[in-house]
């Protein structure tokens, strides 16, 4: 232990990186998603317009952005996150405190989001976007399948919870909110954000299937 200050502390930096990536850029990307899909509340053409705006970004730049700010962070966050989740033995049955339930949900949503995102990205980004392209009409018909629709609603709400609860834990992990009062305030704010985003997101999902 005498020379522990000389250690490289790889684990520490990876964990902090994992925590940070969850907010920037992945969290921001989720926000962007919710804002984009919420355009559908203004009608199908509004959604198509929003998609078209994104499509206007030059292809090379878009690919670079997608790889640097989405693919790599998601892979790191996802793979290391699974490693973290595997170190927990969930016990909300015995310790049914709210924060413990949040802890449990954070891990359950993580386990749901890994296959969901593989499916979501694989199908919509690689298959659909690569061929016919994303549009209101295409999304409407895709989500018309009730199973797909249900899995997507769950996926969206899970992602939003994972993000907003992540904001709360981020504030502790980074030593920003320390005492019980401030932690409680941050937690409530995170829940507030969850409710807003989830309401907008779910409403948008229903708007797709009209």
């Amino acid at each position: 232990m005498s020379n522990n200050t000389e250690c490289v502390h790889t684990d520490f930096y990876v964990r902090r990186l994992h925590s940070l990536l969850g907010i920037v850029p992945i969290g921001f990307f989720l926000l962007e998603h919710v804002i984009t899909i919420s355009q559908v509340l203004g009608g199908g053409h509004a959604f198509d317009a929003a998609v078209a705006k994104l499509a206007a970004i030059p292809h090379d730049i878009l690919i670079t952005l997608e790889i640097v700010f989405i693919a790599i962070p998601l892979l790191i966050h996802g793979i290391y996150g699974m490693y973290i989740a595997m170190q927990a033995k969930l016990n909300p049955g015995r310790y049914g405190y709210m924060r413990n339930k949040q802890f449990t949900l954070q891990r359950i949503t993580a386990w749901y989001l890994v296959p969901f995102l593989l499916w979501h990205v694989g199908y919509l980004r690689f298959i659909v976007k690569g061929s016919e392209g994303i549009s209101f009409a295409q999304m409407s018909s895709y989500l018309d399948n009730p199973i797909v629709f249900a899995l997507y609603v769950i996926g969206l709400v899970a992602a939003i919870f994972h993000f907003t609860n992540g904001l709360f834990t981020f504030s502790i992990t980074w030593g920003i909110s320390k005492g019980p009062r401030v932690q409680s305030v941050v937690n409530k704010m995170a829940w507030g954000l969850f409710v807003i985003l989830a309401a907008v997101g779910v409403a948008s999902m229903f708007a797709f299937i009209g």
Binding site: M1, T5, D11, Y13, W174
Partner: protein, 250 residues
């Protein structure tokens, strides 16, 4: 005379560290002021299980019975707590006792918490005094800081926080809340803080503070109401500062 009121126990037993656990039930005569320890003592005096079979008395650890030595922590009706302060009148029956399986089980309710004492070595939970001989008298201390330190130094290494924490256990290398609180305790001390960088450095290592998943069970489970989550957040802050220092000042 009315029928004798009974107390029903379902106890998770295990003969040795490697043998399979089993449950054994006991029915004891109710007496006022019973607690879990006094019930186990009754079983010692008459080790007969519910089926009427004579069995070996249940093994558990206890010393002070005043909730200050930390020995008698076990899982009572699902929650880790001190058996001496678990009153029968306040427990739902049947009362289920189990060892805190976050730790290796030695026998029955007896567990091996040596990892907690080893953790105290890792975080150097002491003030490195030159010796017990006379030196200069100690400095004055801010009484408010001293009050915070007192709160933490009541930690009796019972392991409730470790048992309640979903991130502590054989599946993980997390050092757990107790040692983080203790590291902060000595960082508060006027001379103990000279070694703060060592304690912070230790908790920066794998399995240190960053392995906390913020379930915050520890602060709920602590029988001494130590604000463990606050001290974990403080340690996270200290670690960040030290990380910046390591990056830019070395």
């Amino acid at each position: 005379m009315a029928e004798q009121k009974k107390v029903h126990f379902i106890i998770e037993r295990q003969d040795s560290p490697d043998s399979a656990p089993y449950t054994e039930e006991f029915l004891l005569d109710y007496r006022p002021a019973m607690n879990v320890v006094s019930s186990l003592m009754e079983i010692q005096k008459n080790p007969v299980n519910k089926a009427g079979k004579k069995v070996s008395p249940v093994v558990w650890e206890c010393n002070c019975l005043e909730k200050v030595c930390g020995a008698c922590m076990m899982v009572i009706n699902g929650k880790a707590r001190q058996a001496c302060a678990a009153l029968i009148d306040q427990l739902e029956q049947p009362i289920r006792l189990a060892p805190a399986r976050t730790f290796p089980v030695i026998r029955d309710l007896m567990i091996d918490r040596s990892v907690m004492f080893e953790n105290l070595k890792k975080v150097q939970a002491w003030v490195a005094v030159d010796g017990s001989w006379e030196v200069k008298p100690a400095d004055r201390q801010n009484p408010y800081t001293a009050t915070e330190a007192y709160e933490i130094s009541r930690c009796m290494t019972c392991g409730c926080c470790m048992e309640a924490c979903p991130n502590v256990g054989p599946q993980s290398d997390f050092i757990g809340p107790a040692a983080i609180g203790q590291a902060h305790l000595f960082n508060l001390h006027p001379t103990g803080q000279y070694d703060k960088h060592k304690r912070v450095g230790a908790l920066m290592q794998k399995g240190g503070s960053s392995s906390c998943g913020n379930s915050q069970n520890c602060v709920q489970a602590c029988p001494k109401q130590i604000k463990l989550t606050t001290y974990i957040a403080q340690m996270n802050r200290d670690i960040n500062k030290q990380a910046l220092k390591n990056i830019f000042s070395k």
